[in-house]
Each structure stands twice: as C-alpha cells, then as structure tokens.
C-alpha cells in the first residue's frame, strides 16, 4: 500500500515539477510582480475590475520605459476564485516558484487573512488594493494596503448625514456571516457612537437571505431618521427594495458601507435606492485631468466604466512600480523601505503610507448619493 501511495505522490510531484522552468529565463530583462485576484466564481466581478486597472497601469508604465532603467514589469495574475485555499496556493506559487518580490492582492479581506501570514513569513511585500477589514496590516510588517479601511471612510459618510440631513436616530443593519460586512459594521458602530447617534436597534441578516421583512417591519416601527447598512451589494439591493415595499418612506435614508459603493445597486434596486449615501475613496466623475484620462482609457481598454476597485488597482500598480524604481532592485526588503516613502498623486488623490502601512489620509473621500439609480457627488 505504501508503494502505491508513493507512486501516486511521485506522479503528482513530477507533474508539478515540470512547469516552473519556464518563467525564470526572462526574469533578467523583466521585473515580475504577482497578483492574486478573484477571476472566477461568484465574486469574479471584483477581481476582473482590479485586473483591468492593474493592466491599464502596467501598459502605461511599460510603454513609458518600465522600471530600473528600462526593465519591463511582467505581471502574473493568479485566480483565487474567492477560495481561501486557492489563494494561499497561488501565493505560495508566486513566492516559491515565480520568486516575485511583490504580491498585489488578494481581493477579499478573508483571503488576505490566509495569504498574509504566508507571504509575510517569506518577507514578500504584499499590497492589498481592496481589503478594507480591520487588522489587515497588523498581520505583519510586509503587509500593506492602498485601500482606505472602512474605519476611515465611514465616519466621513456618517458625519455628512448628521450635518447635512440632521440624522440623529439610526437603525443599523448588517450581514453577519461574512467578514467584509461584519468588519464594516464594526467600524460603522464605532463611528456612530463617536458621533453621538442614537442607535435604535441593530439587526442582522445572512448574505444569502432574500427575506428581510421581519427586520424591516421592526425598524419601521421605531421611526428612525436613517438606516445604516453594511453588506455586499446584492443583499443591500434586496433590503432597500423591500424597505420601500414595506412602506418605509424615502425620507428615511440608507447609509451604506463600502459594499454599497457599486453601480450595480442602481441597476438592481432602481429608484428604491434613491437617497442612499455612501462614502467613496474615488468617484468616476471626480474632476481632474489624471482621473478623466484614466476613465477614458479604462473604458477604451476594457469596454466599460471603471469602478473604485479598478481605480485603486490602477494607482496601486503605479505605487508599486515607483517603489521598485526607488528601491533600485527587485528586492522585497528594499521595496518595503521604498513603499514607506511613497508620495504619489493618482486618480484617488494624494497618497502615502502610515507607519502602520495603511493609507495616510482620507482627504480624497467623497460622499455620494443615489439619484435615479445613479451615484452623484453630494454637493
């Protein structure tokens, strides 16, 4: 039996060994950067947008002469399918086989919690572009992120709601079964308490639920000024639609977290979502030459409008390329040092890292309001 086992093992290992030789030969003229994104499965939309943003920036950087005096950047994007194990396997492959000095991604905070310890152990710089959960950069000294954590964005939104619309009494809702929504809610609750809101009730639901009538009926009876919601866009759309169906008036605004910041909300919920407020590190109609060019080029390259994930990825690719250049070598330690010194002005506005490897400023955050199924900047 043990012979059988070892035979199977040998076959598996043999076929795995066959692959790695290919990538090393051209590593001399190029700097290889890895990325792990969700390109298939239920959440593929996020990864696809990120891929679009990364590749657009990459084309521009390479066309302008690359890094380190003429070396081009090669980007290897691995698919995680939103699966933690697959993400870790991808990270191990990028680090162990492709020997990349930098990994961009992975897409979800959950994946980062699994991937981070692995890359950090190998001292490979890892830059999250879309991981907004609490504690991401605390995984280790090699873990950075360019996405503003929810705790930086949400207070801006809530404060706007308070100042502009006189919101005082709120109900809070969140999906309690996924890390993204839960951690968004934690930030929201902290911000709401700090701003002195009266929290009438906290209601939860599951990400895959389709019936929210019980929670919403309860909220309806509490006469709140606004409802905060932290979840992915699909359940948010469902909640918003049912709230209006149950007769919660349009004057009771929804205030969304990062998950609500998606054009899909308008597509699905239509007019029911009108009035919803959301804070965003980036907005498609943001003024400025850099952004307008980015939006136009992205649309030309990918055939659709960019979203915040694409924008963050686009900036991140530039930030990483600059750091490689500054470091003077494709060496993880040096790139890490260089990242601390980042001073970049991209589509999201001025950018630098804190000592805790998070974005330093939330100045770029704009508050958007839904109107006729589309987001507009709240003036």
């Amino acid at each position: 039996m043990s012979r059988l086992l070892s035979t199977v093992g040998a076959i598996a290992i043999g076929s795995l060994l066959a692959a790695p030789a290919a990538t090393t030969a051209w590593a001399q003229e190029t700097v290889t950067v890895g990325a792990i994104e969700i390109l298939s499965g239920p959440s593929a939309a996020y990864g696809t947008a990120i891929k679009g943003g990364l590749e657009l920036a990459l084309d521009e950087i390479n066309a302008a002469g690359g890094v380190l005096g003429g070396k081009k950047i090669a980007l290897i994007i691995e698919d995680s399918a939103g699966n933690k194990d697959q993400a870790v396997n991808a990270a191990r492959k990028l680090v162990g086989r492709d020997k990349v000095p930098v990994v961009i991604g992975p897409t979800l905070s959950n994946e980062m919690f699994a991937v981070g310890p692995v890359t950090n152990e190998r001292k490979v710089v890892t830059v999250g572009t879309s991981t907004t959960a609490k504690g991401i950069t605390e995984i280790g000294p090699f873990i950075f992120r360019t996405s503003l954590p929810e705790s930086d964005v949400v207070p801006v939104t809530l404060k706007t709601a308070k100042d502009k619309f006189g919101v005082k009494k709120i109900a809070m809702m969140y999906a309690n079964d996924d890390a993204f929504s839960k951690s968004g809610f934690d930030s929201m609750k902290a911000a709401a308490e700090q701003l002195g809101f009266e929290i009438a009730t906290i209601e939860t639901f599951g990400s895959k639920d389709s019936d929210f009538s019980a929670q919403l009926t309860k909220i309806k009876g509490l006469n709140v000024d606004a409802i905060t919601i932290s979840a992915l866009v699909e359940p948010i759309s469902g909640v918003v639609l049912q709230a209006r169906q149950l007769g919660i008036p349009a004057s009771v605004r929804f205030i969304g977290g990062n998950g609500a910041n998606s054009p899909k909300l308008g597509e699905i919920a239509g007019g029911a979502a009108d009035g919803l407020l959301v804070g965003s590190p980036w907005f498609i109609a943001k003024k400025g030459e850099t952004n307008e060019k980015f939006v136009a080029d992205y649309k030309k390259r990918n055939g659709k409008d960019p979203d915040q994930f694409a924008a963050q990825a686009y900036d991140t690719m530039y930030i990483v390329a600059k750091a490689i250049d500054t470091a003077g070598a494709a060496d993880s330690d040096k790139i890490r040092e260089a990242l601390y010194k980042t001073d970049f002005n991209g589509v999201m506005g001025p950018f630098s890292f804190t000592q805790g490897r998070d974005p330093a400023s939330n100045e770029g955050v704009v508050v958007l309001a839904m109107k006729n199924g589309r987001f507009e900047i709240l003036e």
Partner: protein, 280 residues
C-alpha cells in the same frame, strides 16, 4: 536544505498538507459508509475539530499533543447527540440531520462572536501541524482500519453494508455499530480539522458547509470503500487533479458532482474495487 528544494516545499506545502488532511477526511467518510450509513456531517465534524483546536491553542495555550485529542473528543460528543435519535430510523434521517448540523454550526460560529470571532473567524493560529504528524496519523488510521477490518468487526460492518436486517439476525448489535462508526468517524474528521486549522493560520465559519461535505463524499465514492486505502486514494486524486489540470478549477464543483453521479451509477465499487479479505 538545498534552496530549490526549500522553495519547492514552500510552494507545494499547502497542497501536501491538504492531501494528508483530505486523506484523513476520506477515511472518516469510509468509516461511516463501511457500515452502510451516509453522513453529510463530516465537514461539520471537521469544523468542530478545527474550532476546538484553534480555541484551545489561542485562548488556553495548551500544548498541541493535548489539543489534538481534545479536538477529536468534541465532535464525538456532537456525534453522540445527533446519532442517538437518528440512527434508530432509516438512513435518510442521518443524512438529512447531518446536513442540518453543518448549518446549525455555521450559525453558531457566526453568533458566538465573543468566542469564535463571528464572521471574521479566528486568525493567527500557530502552524503546529507538521507534515510528518499528518501523514503518521493517516498511516495509523489506515492500518487500524485494515486490522479491525480483518476481524469479526470488519465482517459485521460489511454484513451491515450488504444487508442490514440479516446482519442483525447474525447477532450484530446494529445501533451500537452505527453509533460507534459515527463517533469514530467524527473523531477522525475532528483530527483532520484540528490539523488543518494548525496549518492554515486562519479559519472562518463558512468553510465547513455543504460543498465541503459533498467533496468529502466524492473522495470516498471515487476511491470506493472496498479497502481503507481506496477512499484515501480518491481524496488524493480529487485534491491533486485540479492543481495539475488548471482548467479543471473552474469546473471543480461540476467535476466533483459528476464523480458522485458516475460512481454511484456505474462504478459502485470505486476505482479501487478490491475487497479486504476478512478471514484467514
């Protein structure tokens, strides 16, 4: 160690871990199916082991040699509660209630935030599950099933699988065997869970659900349950194949599902159809 070997092991460490852990899970599935029962709770039992192990390590700082057996004990208690009422009934009741078990536990992990971290799960679990330990346990498991399989217990189990009523007439204490098999299988799954949480550093509440349960079932059905090695080989094939054949990854679940259909309809003995001899 040579650098390339180091890199190689690093690259495939997860896969090699997963092969061992999945082997144990397949063995746990084998244990139930060998007495003709169907449990879809192996993923849930694995989850209990994973959480128990992680919590004992993180909160109490117990040594791993103590954590491991405790992680096997916790799912055994749950198996006792589930198996008690359902094993008296026809087999579908166990299957359904074990599916439900996975769901109940998921809700529990999500809501017992103070303990389990809720949706955020538990992170920073130290990596204590060494490769040799995983494979040693797998080997012990296979050998133990092999040894017990060649005794009156093995004969009783096969008899139950072939014709439960007649096995009863032969004097096999059916409730005791069924419950025993469920408990042993939950313990193996718990061990696998504990080993996986101590090699992954992060666990979350949504990892031990329906899909994982079906995947574990497909291991055993592909390999067959003629001998204890067969399901392990099934697990190795189904774990390694998507890694070798990348395009298969998109269709991973479709593939696992079809494996089950094909195995039940056309390959009821699996790809390793040999049968363990049970008499000298």
């Amino acid at each position: 160690m040579a650098e390339w070997l180091d890199d190689f092991l690093f690259t495939y460490e997860n896969l090699v871990h997963a092969l061992g852990v999945h082997g144990l899970l397949a063995l746990s599935m084998y244990c139930v199916m060998a007495v003709g029962q169907l449990s879809l709770g192996q993923a849930a039992f694995m989850g209990i082991g994973a959480y128990t192990g992680a919590l004992l390590t993180l909160n109490l700082g117990l040594p791993f040699w103590l954590v491991l057996p405790l992680s096997a004990l916790a799912p055994a208690l749950v198996a006792l509660v589930i198996g008690g009422p359902t094993l008296r009934l026809s087999g579908v009741y166990l299957a359904i209630s074990t599916i439900a078990l996975g769901e109940v536990l998921r809700v529990l992990y999500i809501n017992a935030e103070w303990l389990t971290g809720g949706a955020l799960g538990l992170s920073g679990i130290p990596r204590k599950a060494d490769l040799w330990l995983i494979y040693l346990l797998l080997l012990i498991g296979v050998v133990a099933f092999w040894a017990v399989g060649r005794s009156k217990i093995g004969r009783a189990m096969e008899a139950m699988r072939e014709d439960e009523a007649v096995a009863g007439v032969m004097g096999v204490n059916l409730p005791r065997y069924k419950l025993g098999a469920l408990i042993v299988s939950s313990m193996i799954a718990g061990l696998a869970g504990c080993l996986s949480s101590h090699s992954n550093s992060f666990i979350g509440p949504n990892e031990y659900g329906f899909e994982m349960a079906v995947t574990i079932l497909s291991f055993a059905l592909l390999g067959g349950i003629g001998t204890p090695v067969a399901p392990v080989i099934g697990a190795i094939i189904l774990t390694a194949l998507p890694e070798v054949l990348r395009p298969l990854q998109d269709f991973r679940l479709v593939f696992n599902g079809l494996i089950i259909v094909i195995a039940v309809l056309f390959l009821p003995r699996g790809v390793i159809p040999f049968r363990l001899r049970r008499a000298p």
